[in-house]
Structure formats: C-alpha cells, structure tokens
C-alpha cells in the first residue's frame, strides 16, 4: 500500500470528467466566446490522459477541454524527453455578435448581398464567426546541443460580421444624407503560420535561427450587391459596389537571435531578421479601371530588424543594461495612378491624390538602465529611453510630420528583500517632439486646415508616478496596494488653433488581500478603481463654432474568492467578480446653428457580475462528482445601436439586462 501511495504522489495522473450542464437562459454576452448562448443542455467532457514510460522517458498526453462546448481544445503530445517529440492541436473559438440584427438583407454570409431598396422589416439574424485551427509541430534534439523545431498552423475563420456602406453626400449639398446600409461582411479566411527553427543551447552561447512564414488567404475578393438605395444620385449607396475585401498577403522571415554570457556578470543578446512581405492578390474585375493601372498592387514591404542588448554587473551592487533596436519597414510597392478623378476639386475645395499610398517607417529605440543597491535593502534604478521614428508620407486629411523623437527618463526606488513591507516607488517623465508638420494645401495651392496634430505625432509631455506596496502584517495575511497616476500634456493643435488633443489622465488604484485561514482554507479579495480622462477640442462644421469634450472612463471592480477543503473528501471554491464601468462624454456645447436637433451623448453604463461555485466530492480515491454553478449578470444602457435604423430598414438590438444561470454536474475518474 505504501508503494501505491508513493506512486499516487509521484507518477503522472490521468483524468476524465464527463457529465451535463444546463443553461437556464438565452443570452448574448455570457456565451459570446464559449457558445453557451441558447438555453438547454450542454455536454461536459474534459480529459487529460497522461502516460509516461519511466524507463525511456517517453510521454504520451491527450488533453481535451470543453469538448461538449463550441470552444473546444484538443492537444495530443508524444515525446521522448530530451530526444524527440511531436504534437497535434485542434482549437475552436466562436464569436457570437452580441447584437441581434433584424434585417431583410439577403445572402448573409456570402459575397453577394440583396439589399432592399426601401426600408423593409426583416427577421432576426445572429451574426457569428468561428475560428478552427489545426496545428502540429515536431522537435528533435541533435548532437552537440542542437535542437530542430518545425511548426505549422492552419486556421480557418468563417461567418459574417457587422459591416456596411454609406454616403452622406448627394444633392443638394454636403449635408444631405445619402443613406446607410447594413452589409454583413462575409468572413472566409485561411491563415497559415509555419516555420523551422534550429536552436543551439550551449553553456555560454545560445543561438536560434530559422524561417518564419505567414500566409493569409481570403476566399472572397469583393462584396457585391444588388438593390440598395438610389437616393443621392451618383453618390447613392447602391452604386458603392463592389466593396473591396481584405486581400491575400504573405510574409517570409529569416531570423537569427542569440545570447552569449561573456562571464557570470555580463551577457549580450541580439536578434536580426529580414522579412519580405507581399500582397499580389489580383484585383477583382472593375468597370472603371484607371489607364495604366496594374492587375494587382504588386505590394512589397521589406522589414529589417536589428536588436542588441548588453547587461553587465561591473560591481556587486551595480547592474547596467543597454538595449538598441533598429527597425526599417521599407514599403517598395510601386506607385500608380488609380483615381484620376481625385484631382478634381471637391465640394470643400480640396483635391487629393489618386495614387496608391505606400508608407515606410524607420525606428530607433535605445534604452539604458542602471540599477544600484543602496543600504537598508534599498535599490535605486535609473533609466533613459529614446525612440526616434522616420516616416514617409504626405498630409492628406490629417497632419503629417516626417520624424518624431521621444526621450524618457525614469527613476525608481525599491525595497528588494522579503520583509513585512516591501515596495516600489517610481517616476517617469517623457517628452515627444518632432520635425515640422508638412503643410496641406488646397486645390489652388493655398495652405488649408493645418489645425490639428494627430495624437500619435503631436508633441507630448508625459509624467507617471507608480507606487506598489506589499505588506504582510502577520503570517496568514498579505496585502498589496498599487497606485499609479499618469498625466499626458499634448500639444495637439497647430498654428495656435486650440484644437486637437490636449490632455490625458489615467489613475489606477488597486488593493489585494490574501488570507490563509489554514492549509485547507484560503480567501482572497481585490478591488480596483480605474479612471481615464481625455480632453480634446474641435470646431463644428459651418458656422465653425469651437467646442471641446472631456471623455471619461470610470471603472470600479472587485472580486472575492474562497477555496477550501472542509472535509478530506470535499473540495469547494467560490468567487464573485463585479465591474461597473461608466463612459462620460462631457461636451462644452450640444447645439449649433449648423445642425439643430442634436441630443447630447448620454453616459454609458455597464454592470457585469459573475458568481462561480464549484464543489468536488470524492466518492472513492479515484472517483468523484463535481458540481459547477455560474450566475452571470450583465446590464447596460448602451445606445450604440438603439437609436439607429439603416436606410434598408435593418435595426440592431440587445437585451439590456441579462441574467444567466448555468448548472453542471459531472463525474471524474482518475487513474495512473
């Protein structure tokens, strides 16, 4: 019997778990990714079969999770540890659209849709996409510390998702509404990722080099329609067909990375890669091709990456780190004229380019950090980060600058040893600036717009303070408090316009506690408050009245959990999580002469809670019963779709209050 006990404690154990669950309520949110959307019975089936041959070190493992649900996973592994191995993996991930579409649009899921020409009521459609992936890999250890790894993954994604077309333009002027139509996008994608890696794992030197390939294939080249609204003359939605869908593309990368320990205190690492990406998917037939335009984009993007880092401990108390990264994404796509009409002056006096828009980037990222041990178990860390971007491109509907630079400095004080109180206090300051903004011009060559600096290009000062405290006031209790504040000060305007992004603020507060009542009973609780705020300004369409908005996101979350073994045969666990999130849109004005009838954007509130309970009772050493219960709650006043009707009559809606109960009862069997 002692041998049996030893075996039970030291040998891998297999488990099968099977039973049934009942979902008491239809829902859209709870089942969004697990498929438990419609009420009814669902199978519970999980397995983890493990065998190890102790004489040869050969493992066999078959894992199946959620086999009775639509988000199932299966993985089979067979390996001789330290010698060879292979695996197969299957994974299924649904995504149910949480909004129900009541639509008369026909052909959903296909690349040709029939759209009502006038508003028409339709039946409910539950849009959904589903990913199914299959992967396998092989590894083989070779003499002299080499290892070869091969991997391949194929993922199919099918279904349909929210998409559409619309156009505000149309007679008699720019404010006339053309129409908006619901056109679910057909999804029929295949993504393949594969590669080969040769690793060398020496005592001081490690290398990893190989090939990484990715292919994307879309079975649908374009979305075409029949029907649709003819309101708007030549700008009528019905004429917006075909609509391009994502084109096939591929990339091939060769890479070499490595690490070398010069001595016990100094180590260097590097990675170099070269990637050739292309997009040569043939254009779909069109009626109006520009003269000289090619049959496909001949898209080609080559990316070079060089990264190197050196860490060293020249003194026992001092650590140094230097990191350099260079990435050059060179877009070599040839430029052709695709739209001669773009040269015509539009209703606002603009004219644009009808050429395709290849863009290249070069980034330099450098980091230096010093870490010094002070008395009293304190550690002082200082760091400087510098990032430089070079971009090609021209201003069109947004401002553009060719380069930006960002310099950050940070200082951190940390208690490093385990005591009753440990903590970290850090401060980061960064400045971003850049080259001059290129001037946009009108059709007649006069400066036009040049009023807003885009958020990713604008000058910015950022300050961030972070505090983390770990406290163990007495043995069974540990408490962790985390606070961070950051302030972004943007110069989002140009030419003193006063427009664009101005400020960003983020505040996060968290408190965690863990209490160990005994070896058989632990409890934990946590609380988080997260706040973000963005201030930005703009001006209305004519008569061009300045306005500003303060966008706030406020979230309060908490969780409580208990796990225990009140009896040697009984394990129980329960936890509750709850989140309440509010979006606020504080606009300085809500009504202007140009566009009467505005209604201020109401706050959006989400409340979401979940209670999980499980209990496992051992009938025998290797046999038992398991109970799972989930109570899920979702409530919102979200208005994203509630006030909206497409020109074709489609409306989207969701149940604004969703209670879901799920109860599962299953048996489990263990063996070795």
């Amino acid at each position: 019997e002692q041998d049996e006990d030893i075996k039970r404690l030291t040998k891998p154990q297999s488990t099968i778990n099977f039973g049934a669950g009942y979902l008491f309520n239809d829902n859209a949110r709870f089942g969004q990714f697990n498929g438990l959307r419609d009420d009814g019975f669902y199978g519970i089936f999980n397995l983890d079969i493990i065998r190890r041959n102790d004489d040869t070190g050969t493992w066999f493992r078959l894992q199946g999770r959620n086999l009775g649900f639509r988000n199932r996973d299966v993985r089979l592994e067979h390996s001789r540890q330290g010698n060879w191995g292979y695996f197969f993996e299957f994974s299924q991930t649904p995504r149910y659209e949480p909004f129900t579409a009541n639509t008369a649009v026909g052909g959903i899921g296909s690349s040709h849709l029939q759209v009502p020409t006038t508003p028409t009521a339709g039946g409910p459609e539950h849009l959904k996409t589903e990913r199914e992936s299959f992967a396998f890999g092989i590894n083989k250890f070779l003499p002299a510390n080499f290892e070869l790894q091969l991997h391949f993954k194929n993922e199919d994604k099918d279904g349909a998702r929210i998409f559409g077309r619309g156009n505000r333009l149309g007679p008699p002027g720019p404010t006339a509404v053309g129409g908006y139509e619901f056109l679910p996008e057909p999804i029929n994608y295949t993504t393949r990722i594969f590669g080969a890696t040769l690793n060398y794992n020496g005592k001081d030197l490690q290398l990893s080099g190989g090939y990484y390939g990715t292919l994307f294939e879309n079975k649908n080249k374009a979305l075409t329609t029949t029907g649709g609204s003819s309101v708007g003359g030549i700008f009528a939605p019905a004429l917006f067909t075909p609509i391009a869908l994502p084109p096939d593309n591929q990339a091939h990368q060769a890479f070499l990375s490595g690490g070398y320990s010069f001595n016990p205190h100094t180590r260097g690492t590097f990675k170099a890669s070269y990637t050739i990406a292309s997009q040569t998917d043939g254009f779909f037939p069109t009626q109006l091709a520009a003269p000289g335009a090619p049959s496909n984009l001949h898209g080609k993007v080559d990316t070079t990456l060089v990264q190197a880092a050196l860490t060293s401990r020249p003194l026992s108390k001092l650590n140094l780190l230097a990191n350099f990264r260079y990435e050059d994404r060179e877009d070599k796509t040839p430029v052709f004229l695709y739209n001669p009409n773009a040269f015509n002056v539009d209703l606002n006096g603009n004219r644009w380019t009808g050429f395709n828009t290849p863009r290249s980037f070069r980034t330099f990222t450098n980091k230096f950090e010093a870490n010094y041990a002070l008395p009293m178990n304190l550690r002082l860390i200082g760091g400087i980060d510098y990032e430089h971007w070079d971009r090609t491109g021209t201003p069109q509907t947004t401002g553009h600058r060719n380069s930006t630079d960002e310099l950050s400095g940070r200082i951190e004080l940390r208690r490093t040893m385990a005591e009753t109180v440990t903590g970290t206090l850090s401060y980061i300051h960064s400045d971003r600036w850049g080259s001059h903004f290129l001037t946009q011009t009108t059709a007649t060559g006069q400066p036009f717009f040049n009023l807003i600096a885009p958020i990713n290009l604008a000058d910015r000062n950022r300050d961030k303070v972070r505090l983390l405290l770990n406290w163990e006031p007495f043995e069974p209790l540990s408490v962790q408090a985390a606070v961070d504040h950051s302030w972004d000060d943007y110069n989002g305007d140009r030419n003193n316009s006063g427009f664009g992004i101005k400020k960003g603020i983020a505040r996060n507060y968290s408190l965690d506690a863990v209490y160990t009542f005994s070896e058989n009973l632990q409890a934990n609780a946590w609380f988080s408050r997260n706040e973000t705020q963005i201030d930005q300004a703009n001006r209305t369409p004519a008569p061009r009245v300045p306005w500003s908005v303060k966008l706030e996101n406020l979230s309060t979350s908490f969780g409580v959990g208990i796990n225990g073994r009140p009896h040697e045969k009984l394990d129980i666990g329960t936890n509750i999580t709850y989140s309440e999130i509010t979006d606020k849109f504080k606009q300085s004005i809500t009504e202007v002469e140009c566009c009467p009838g505005n209604t201020p954007v109401p706050d959006i509130k989400f409340k979401q809670g979940r209670w999980n309970l499980f209990a496992r009772y051992a009938l025998q050493k290797n046999l038992g019963l398991r109970l799972d219960y989930i109570l899920d709650y979702f409530k919102t006043n979200e208005w994203t779709w509630s006030g909206w009707t497409y020109t074709d009559g489609t409306r989207l809606s969701q149940d604004q209050r969703q209670w879901v109960n799920f109860l599962g009862i299953s048996a489990y069997i263990n063996w070795q």
């Binding site: 404690l9 030291t10 993922e155 908006y180 860490t311 385990a418 807003i452 996060n508």
Partner: protein, 287 residues
C-alpha cells in the same frame, strides 16, 4: 549535467539521489516534494533532469543538523527566500537559457526582481502559469489594470482561456516592444488578424504604424477594442473640415458619426482599401 548523489542511506523515491532529502520531505512534512515526480523534471530517464541539489545546492548545514528548525537549504525559492534572485534564477537558467528564454536577463521582468519562481510552480504537475485557464491570474497579481480591463464589454476571450497573455507577450523577454511575441505590435496582432496587414492601395497610416494607436487589446467599453468611441477617436487626428468635426449626438443628421459604426458607417474599410476602381472615395476607405 549528471550528478550522482545516491550514496545516502535512504533510498531514492523520485529523483536521482533524493533519498537524503525525501527521508524528511515526505508528504507529511511542511515542504513536501514528491509531486515533482509527476513533472518533466521528474523524468529521470532524461539524463538532463536535475537532482534536488542541482537547484537547492548541497545544503550541508541544512542536512547535517538535527534541530527541529534547521537552517534552510543553500538555495531556496519561496516567498521568504533570502537567496539573491539572480542566484535563484541561475538555477533555472543553467538549463533553460536558450530558445524563447534567451532574452530573460535584461528583460523588464528580470529587471524588476521577478524571479522564475515568482510565476512558475516547480513541485507540481499543474504549473498554473502554463495552463491557459489559469495563466492570467498569475499575470494579474502585478498587472491589475489589465485584470479589470478583460471584463469590459469589448474584449478578447481571455476569461474563456482562448486567448492568453502569452499568446501576445513573451514574459521572458523579446526583441519587440512590451515583450510582444513578434518583433513589433502589429506583427503580433497579425498572427490572428492577418487580414489587416495589407499593404493596400490606400492605407490608413496609423493602422500600419501601430494597432495600439486606436485599439487597446486588453479590453474597452467602445466596440472593437477601440480606445475611444467615434467620432471622438477620429477627431484626435483628422482636420476639422466639415462633417468630421461634428459634435457627438445621438439624434439629428450628425448622429451618423456617433451611432452604429460611427464614422465607419461610411469609411467602412478603415484599415485600408484595395479597391482599384477609381470613382468614389476609395482613398477614403468607403469601398
């Protein structure tokens, strides 16, 4: 790295030469160790697997002491360990320094005094951080903002264990920013969203530069993981010409910029359009 410590009096139970340890550290002790036999470390047929002393050191003072509370082993890994973190990690790195862990030394985690055992459990057959259903709980012990964000209405299926932190981040360090598994943010996103890669005839500049300019992958209240709702998000870059600078409103003509897909009601191919037909606003992603 073979070691033979099998000269002890007690028989080995799990690892080579573990008798001198397991004679005390059985299942009744405060520090039971038998479960390591269920793990890859316990596969003694693999000559690379460690002994107790490979990781914990020779621990002579610990073993040659009959006190009820002997001094700790030479190298310990628990939360009250006094072994320097570098020394603790070196016990792991002696074997696990290659491949995806090559960049550990110098990584943000290593520089923040995170030890391998801060996240990994060694003496158990179910390392929580290597299980998709429980991994995020380990990450959230420090990344609390993300713990709250994954419960937002627009999110990845992290709670369901279908997308996990390590699908996008290599916690052991990488050549990418924020320890992304690929060399850039976008290349990481493309592993699942490759349809966004293009290049297109007409490219939306921020989509090529960094997906995270518009999206927060950890969860948002705006649809499609957008950081801010339309039209406010678009107005952070676009010039106030005519309709694009409208107020946010849920009624009136300009509700078209706020409701439903907002600006994307018209600019539907927002990541880029590959439509070669040359008549109506392809360059504005309307087709």
């Amino acid at each position: 790295q073979e070691e033979d410590d099998s000269e002890g009096e007690a028989p080995d139970i799990v690892l080579r030469g573990d008798g001198k340890c397991t004679k005390c550290h059985d299942e009744t002790s405060d520090y039971p160790v038998f479960a390591i036999g269920k793990t890859k470390h316990g596969t003694v047929a693999d000559s690379r697997t460690p002994t107790c002393t490979s990781c914990h050191g020779e621990s002579d003072q610990h073993m040659n002491n009959d006190d009820a509370m002997p001094p700790p082993p030479s190298r310990t890994f628990g939360k009250n360990s006094t072994t320097p973190i570098l020394e603790r990690d070196q016990a792991c790195l002696d074997c696990h320094q290659g491949g995806k862990r090559m960049n550990w030394i110098g990584s943000a985690h290593a520089n923040r005094d995170i030890a391998c055992t801060s996240c990994h459990q060694i003496h158990t057959d179910r390392d929580r951080v290597r299980d998709k259903m429980t991994q995020s709980e380990t990450c959230f012990t420090c990344h609390k903002e993300q713990r709250a964000q994954i419960n937002r209405p627009s999110r990845h299926p992290i709670r369901e264990g279908k997308v996990v932190c390590s699908d996008c981040h290599n916690p052991h360090g990488s050549a990418g920013p924020s320890m992304t598994v690929r060399d850039s943010v976008n290349e990481t996103c493309f592993t699942c969203h490759m349809e966004k890669r293009g290049p297109f005839i007409y490219n939306h500049p921020p989509a090529q530069e960094n997906c995270a300019i518009c999206h927060n992958p950890h969860g948002t209240t705006a649809p499609n993981l957008l950081k801010v709702r339309s039209p406010f998000l678009c107005q952070e870059c676009h010039e106030p010409n005519s309709h694009q600078s409208s107020l946010g409103t849920i009624t009136g003509a300009y509700a078209r910029n706020t409701l439903a897909r907002g600006c994307m009601n018209c600019h539907t191919n927002i990541h880029g359009s590959n439509n070669p037909e040359n008549v109506r606003n392809e360059g504005l992603f309307q087709r």
